[in-house]
């Protein structure tokens, strides 16, 4: 049984800092906020706007938080139409690609649920974090085998992001492997 790869909070912060550095270089809008800042400033920038086939503009908001209980990052997200109407869980499900749906429906802890954002106190959708170590451990072990630098956050987000409509530009991976 392989030892699970836990992510300490300081390491999480370090990988996020590296991630933000690259985000600033390519201008795709990620920001680092402390809990104090998160509560004071309006969130305008951690958004991605996407036009759907029916030319409805949808606003997605993604937050990466650290769970000290599971010692892994957790992806919180919400979506709304431009007029402010929020997405329901049903709407979110419709946006999930078929290839991910069966996997997500297998268990209550592999799925997307509505949760309270631990800092903002507002409803967000979350991918349950308890299985994160299961899929991250092989990724990290493998990178070590081939002596390749890996940014935990970049790798993790590239796995969970696409499930919920967040696709990272490839340049993140190149940036990660270039860091010492």
């Amino acid at each position: 049984m392989e030892e699970d790869e836990f992510l300490g909070e300081k390491t999480f912060q370090h990988y996020c800092a590296e991630f933000i550095k690259h985000s600033q270089q390519i201008g795709d809008g990620w920001e680092w906020r402390t809990s104090k800042e998160a509560l004071e400033l309006p969130l305008d920038d951690s958004e991605v706007t996407e036009a759907t086939a029916a030319t409805e503009v949808i606003k997605y908001e993604y937050h990466v938080l650290y769970s000290c209980s599971y010692q892994v990052p957790v992806l919180y997200f919400r979506a709304s139409f431009l007029d402010g109407r929020p997405f329901s869980l049903k709407d979110i499900w419709e946006g999930v690609h078929e290839c991910y749906k069966t996997r997500l429906q297998q268990g209550p802890w592999d799925t997307i649920t509505q949760q309270e954002h631990p800092i903002l106190g507002q409803p967000f959708f979350v991918l349950h974090p308890c299985k994160t170590n299961e899929f991250m451990t092989p990724v990290l072990k493998n990178s070590r085998k081939i002596n390749r630098n890996v940014n935990y956050i970049t790798s993790w987000l590239s796995i969970v992001g696409p499930v919920v409509g967040l696709n990272l530009p490839l340049s993140y991976a190149r940036a990660a492997s270039q860091n010492e």
Binding site: S35, L39, C68, S69, Y70, P86, S88, L89, P108, W109, T113, Q114, Q115, E116, P118, I119, G121, Q122, P123, H128, C130
Partner: protein, 275 residues
Amino acid sequence: MTDDKDVLRDVWFGRIPTCFTLYQDEITEREAEPYYLLLPRVSYLTLVTDKVKKHFQKVMRQEDISEIWFEHEGTPLKWHYPIGLLFDLLASSSALPWNITVHFKGFPEKDLLHCPSKDTIEAHFMSCVKEADALKHKSQVINEMQKKDHKQLWMGLHNDRFDQFWAINRKLMEYPAEESGFRYIPFRIYQTTTERPFIQKLFRPVATDGQLHTLGDLLKEVCPSAIAPEDGERKNQVMIHGIEPMLETPLQWLSEHLSYPDNFLHISIIPQPTD
């Protein structure tokens, strides 16, 4: 110790006398009488209010009914917080019964999670239990249990069956013989005066020198304003299940005896009542 077992029962069977009133702007065919109910402190609003829903829906038309939600003095009540926590945090200094307003329209999307079915409550409850065990035992105990044991925890809560619940929950309250307690204590501290919904951090029940950490130690470390000032009159009450435990109480003991069924200690910091 029989005394300690009594504490478990007292916590489980705690009740809050509540008066439910229909929001005045809801459209009714006849006048809606208020509905009185004793709410279990350890349960969740949407789990125990079927009778309330039925009572008010009797005087309403189907088309005027959407998802039910509850509010106290203008504050939407988060169904995913245990009832006892909501009361202690928002209404403990007011006279009984607890007055809750019932709504069937205008669900506050920005404030409340949706609760489409009992399955949602079960998923939320089990998610909390799992997180608590991640902190206490690195998830080893909960993961070793079978699905039917998980189900028994939920059914015990759902059906108000103390023995059924604790037959399984006692395993979540054990720790290795060579240790003095859990790995970390599952707790959340709530204050209405802050924006942040709660404080949750990693905190060990035992210090490096082997001394048991107390409730006071926890607060000093993660929420010092709760017990300020140390000399003189304290500004706040520290409340769990409607009582103020002594700050000298070992945290490990509190975790084993005063946790909610989700295995978390939900602690309210409220201003001292001014009467």
